[in-house]
């Protein structure tokens, strides 16, 4: 992909400023309708998922106490992997978004929740909720585009180091939670700019260190110790469960913004962005995953990445319900709703990582001279 402003066929050139405003109003109406009916069923849903997850985690860890016995290892590892996936995706991610803050339950609230992940909730909320969701797919602003270590857009300059990015991506996938923690710390940038001695950075790094220690102690020391003679097999089981969780969440998240068809935006394009333009950027900057109800739950409803980016604070269990209406709006305004089955989307994202590890064949045309390129002005300025 290339920043939308530089494309030969600009997919939003046909929309006038009035169209974009109207689109924004229609999306606001969908949001208001969900808000009006938000309540008991949503609260019951998240409490049920939390109860299931806790029972599954506890049960799986209990089974793993006997992990020397191969069937126990298999069942326990599978159960723990599913529990960790549910905890991160459908519970942690969504509770930390404030989707369930409306319940006013201090135990299920974005300000008090901590998740089974090495990145402390507070740091993740800043980099994810604030930076990624506000500046979605804006080159140079949204670090989710390649996590600052990969080239995932033609507009990002190629460097020989990118030759290795299929390997970086695989390693990142295996240890994704550590990748996220480093990313939330902006580790690379802070080290490059010599800010690693700044008190603010050191405080945050210490918080990450504490979190890693606690997570590590639980999964790799205490739980194996409690397993007695099954020490090593339990250690292998918790490692495998974390690995499965990491590979799964990495795949789901790659599908959200990397597959073919997803657009990126130039930094200047979001200056003075209207609500409608922000919505439009979210629509074009995200991709869905099609699948069964189980797929949706296991992806934390990030299979409805488009709906999630439009309405990040609506309860995740409502995305499926609004998806047909959102899709109808894509059709009405002549936009492409990017979606596909998980294997296809994962392959598409991986293909992009591999393709862009090599230099691009042609350099993209420069933006039109003498003017800011903005999404609302594109009808006339596209090249």
């Amino acid at each position: 992909m290339t920043a939308i402003q530089k494309k030969a066929h600009n997919p939003i050139a046909h929309l006038t400023a009035a169209d974009i405003d109207a689109l924004g109003r229609e999306l606001d109406a969908i949001r208001d309708r969900v808000l009006a009916s938000r309540g008991e069923a949503d609260a019951a849903y998240i409490r049920k998922v939390i109860a299931i997850q806790r029972r599954l985690e506890l049960g799986s860890r209990a089974v793993l106490l006997f992990s020397l016995f191969p069937p126990a290892w298999l069942v326990g590892t599978a159960g723990l992997a599913v529990a960790k996936i549910l905890e991160n995706m459908e519970i942690g991610h969504n509770v930390l978004h404030g989707q369930y803050d409306f319940m006013r339950d201090p135990k299920i609230h974005s300000t008090t929740w901590e998740w089974d992940h090495v990145s402390p909730a507070a740091q993740w909320k800043h980099s994810h909720n604030q930076l990624h969701h506000t500046y979605t797919n804006v080159l140079g602003k949204d670090n989710d585009l390649g996590y600052g270590i990969m080239r995932v857009d033609e507009d990002q300059p190629w460097h020989p180091i990118h030759l290795g990015q299929p390997l970086w991506n695989l390693i990142n996938a295996c240890f994704f939670e550590y990748g996220i923690a480093a990313y939330d710390l902006e580790l690379g940038r802070n080290l490059r700019k010599g800010r690693h001695k700044a008190p603010e950075f050191r405080a945050r790094a210490r918080a990450v260190g504490r979190k890693i220690r606690r997570q590590f102690l639980k999964d790799y020391i205490i739980h194996p110790l409690l397993s007695g003679p099954s020490f090593l097999s339990t250690l292998a089981a918790t490692f495998t469960a974390n690995l499965i969780r990491n590979l799964w969440s990495h795949s789901v998240i790659m599908c959200g913004h990397f597959p073919e068809g997803v657009e990126t935006f130039e930094k200047t394009s979001i200056e003075g962005e209207t609500r409608g333009e922000w919505y439009l950027r979210q629509m074009l900057g995200s991709a869905n995953i099609s699948g069964s109800r189980l797929t949706h739950i296991m992806t934390g409803n990030l299979s409805f990445q488009i709906e999630h980016h439009l309405f990040p604070d609506l309860p995740s269990c409502r995305y499926q319900e609004v998806a047909p209406e959102v899709r109808a709006l894509f059709a009405k305004y002549g936009l492409t709703y990017t979606t596909g089955a998980l294997p296809k989307q994962v392959a598409s994202a991986w293909w992009k990582v591999i393709r862009l590890s090599l230099p691009s064949r042609a350099t993209p045309a420069p933006p039109p001279a003498g003017g800011q390129v903005r999404t609302d002005a594109l009808a006339t300025s596209s090249v």
Binding site: D28, R31, D32, L35, R38, G39, E40, A41, D42, A43, A44, A51, R54, R55, L58, R61, H97, G98, D101, F102, M103, R104, D105, K107, H109, S110, T111, E114, W115, D116, K125, H126, N129, Q130, H133, T134, K211, R214, Q215, L217, K218, I222, H223, L226, W278, P312, D313
Partner: protein
């Protein structure tokens, strides 16, 4: 009544060690998060109760019998309990007088709720609450209680659900040996909560009951008390009911130099009528600013030099969430009103909320 017995030091250390070990396994959650799944009423848990029974008292009032958690420390007759109830998925806190006698052998407590027009929580409890539901509890509180030893002559002046704390006192047998007069006002004989029990007490001669039915007798005026209870100013008096009645009673007792013999309880929640804009106080910063109905509280606070947490400034990141101690705010996106009274501790997003009246923000 207190149930906290100090543990032998040795056992406590072992227990604490076990809990610390459990915490290393359950992190980032706490052992209690798992225990709550199976034993939400256990000792040491956040105080909760389970509704066992909902019994209608009148057409718009019902008594809820609740099994409190093991941490319940009991109550004194006349006190109230704050109940956290999930209504339409949203936790709401309200205070209700305890109507059960303290120290029941079965350990149960009861509150009696009258559904008030448009009352979200009271209507839910009276009409929709089901046995088995968990509610959040606070320990009993309030100083509207009968003194020990009981005074010789007692007057209760109540109206509507104002009878509830008094019923708690009467059921506790307090004050059993005293000369008790109860003047109670309700719209009709059928609207008298605990009617049968009160009339029974009167028939047995335990109390003198003066019932007033406003549909036929008109609203009870304090001037009439002189005829109904000639020695009313000499009695230790407890009054509970609507604001109008209490204002009149307090003025009357004060005017006659008997204010020290009068105890009142105002249990109707503060009525917040949302408007546009208002005075916003950042309580910890000690700053008050006048904010109009179109300015986000985040901007109002920053303009006043308050160090405000902030994030996306468009309502999506929840980085600016702070507690609204009391007051009303309007969501700038869709006009939705959120109100809070002290103790509610409602968290709001300051970047998309404007003042809809006087607000206290905990910053």
């Amino acid at each position: 009544m207190t149930t906290t017995v100090p543990r032998p030091p040795g056992r406590r250390t072992v227990r604490d060690r076990l809990f610390r070990l459990a915490e290393t396994v359950t992190t980032p959650l706490l052992p209690e998060d798992y225990l709550d799944l199976i034993a939400p009423l256990r000792s040491g848990a956040a105080l909760r109760g389970r509704i066992l029974d909902v019994r209608p008292e009148t057409r718009d009032a019902a008594t809820l019998t609740i099994r409190p958690g093991r941490g319940w420390r009991g109550h004194t007759p006349g006190q109230y309990v704050r109940l956290g109830v999930d209504v339409d998925g949203v936790r709401q806190w309200r205070a209700y007088s305890l109507t059960s006698a303290p120290g029941r052998s079965d350990g149960l407590i009861s509150v009696t709720v009258k559904a008030i027009p448009d009352g979200r929580v009271s209507n839910h409890l009276v009409r929709r609450a089901r046995p088995g539901t968990l509610v959040q509890l606070d320990q009993a509180q309030g100083d509207f209680v009968a003194p020990v030893p009981a005074p010789e002559r007692v007057l209760f002046v109540t109206a509507g659900s104002g009878i509830t704390p008094v019923m708690g006192m009467l059921r506790a047998g307090a004050p059993a040996t005293a000369d008790v007069v109860l003047v109670h006002s309700a719209p009709t004989p059928d609207d008298v909560i605990f009617a049968a029990e009160l009339r029974g007490l009167a028939a047995r001669g335990a109390i003198r009951l003066v019932e007033r039915h406003t549909d036929t007798d008109g609203v009870l005026g304090v001037a009439e008390l002189a005829d109904l209870v000639p020695d009313h100013l000499d009695r230790q008096t407890w009054a509970c009911g609507p604001v109008g009645l209490l204002d009149a009673v307090e003025a009357h007792w004060a005017a006659n130099g008997a204010a020290d013999r009068l105890h009142t309880e105002r249990f109707r929640p503060t009525v917040i009528s949302p408007g546009a804009g208002g005075d916003v106080t950042f309580t910890r910063a000690g700053v008050t600013v006048r904010a109009d109905g179109g300015t986000a509280l985040l901007d109002a606070g920053e303009d006043a030099g308050v160090l405000m947490p902030s994030g996306c400034r468009m309502g999506i990141c929840f980085g600016c969430v702070v507690p609204l101690r009391q007051g009303a705010v309007r969501d700038l996106r869709n006009g939705e009103i959120t109100t809070a009274v002290p103790g509610d501790n409602v968290l709001i997003q300051t970047c998309v909320s404007a003042a809809a009246g006087t607000c206290d923000i905990d910053l």
